[in-house]
Amino acid sequence: MRLSAADLDCHRGGREVFAGIGFHLAAGQALAVTGRNGAGKSSLLRTVAGFIRPAGGRLWLEGGDPELSIAEQAHYLGHQDAVKPSLSVTENLRFWTAFFGADAHKVQDALEWVGLGAIGALPAAYLSAGQRRRLSIARLLAVKRPIWLLDEPASTLDAAGRGKLTDFMQSHLAGGGLILAATHGALGLSSAQELSLDRPAHARTDKTQPAEAAP
């Protein structure tokens, strides 16, 4: 399986966010997307997830299920955790497992793996930000999908949580998965390639600043 992008452009609100982005990501590889705030890391992930239509360029997947879109074979872990406060921890995870058409038998295991096994019956309203993130991560473990799109996955996690996340990512890669992660810190993966969105943005700023300042 191989996920590729060529000459990808993204426009948001009439402004260019990034242009000419390309990458190749084969099975078992991880790509860390880095860049300053506003460089378009999240937009790139949302473009790959199919939420934003690219303004130009191509995005394709070789070796996946041809019946399914890239988004339908991907897990998207965004800034929001998609946790319903009035449902219990288990109910939350069980819903996503069923909605993604996976078997429910891994729900309890996934909760144990992320360290929420003991509080399955607790309403999710009582979870801390880090625990909500762990519940979100449990979704990736309970439902098997080859592509992981992670937007700042470690932002609210403690040190132990980060360690676990690295382990999960490593075993996902070992199983032939792909990871595309937007990050400020280190991913903790020795094999990760890096895609920096900074340089084209600086070049663009230099070019357009005088024009913007002129009127």
């Binding site: 399914l68 339908e72 998207y76 965004g78 955790d81 319903k84 069923a98 909605f99 058409g101």
Partner: protein, 222 residues
Amino acid sequence: MTPLTALLVRDMRIAVRVGGGALIGVLFFVVVVTLTPFAVGPDLALLKRIGPAILWLAALLASLLALDRLFASDHEDGSLDLILTGRAPLELVIAAKGLAHWLTTAVPLILAAPLIGLLLDIEPPAQAGLVLTLLVGTPALTFIGVVGAAIAVTLRRGGLMLAVIVLPLTVPVLIFGVAAANAAVAGPVPFGTPFTVLCALTLASLVIGPFAAAAALRLDIE
């Protein structure tokens, strides 16, 4: 459990739990209808004449109440993004969410209608007809409403916008719903004519609503 059943069950669970809004709709309905005799006065003939219209108006407003949260809550917590990465078609997802909304807000209201009808001097045989019009007509209100909910999803205070978008579109349903209910209560027009049109409006909105809402949602997400 299939993806769509899972969604239906989840939405119904959320609706009946704390802060869910299922009971708010039926309480609002009861309050509005109960207030009418106080406002209009104890003129039974008048109440009987305007009774069906009051019940229908109250049902319309009550079904709008929880509608603005239908997609907005899923949008705010990121669930909507994940729903889009699911393999269920968005149109069917919307139909399932609409069905969950109808089951949790409109059905309790339909069950309360016969009791409330007594306050407006509507007799039991006529009440059966009135309940039937609500049972057939409220799905149309919900499925016209989902389009407005989908359009207003990214707006703060989308509820007001929603009312402005949706209420004009519900005029035909209101006309034929009240006409059928009036025919059941007072005659002399046969019940069947407006009732058939009401059925047609519901069927049409069941088909058009999910597609229109899905198109609006796809634009909103971008």
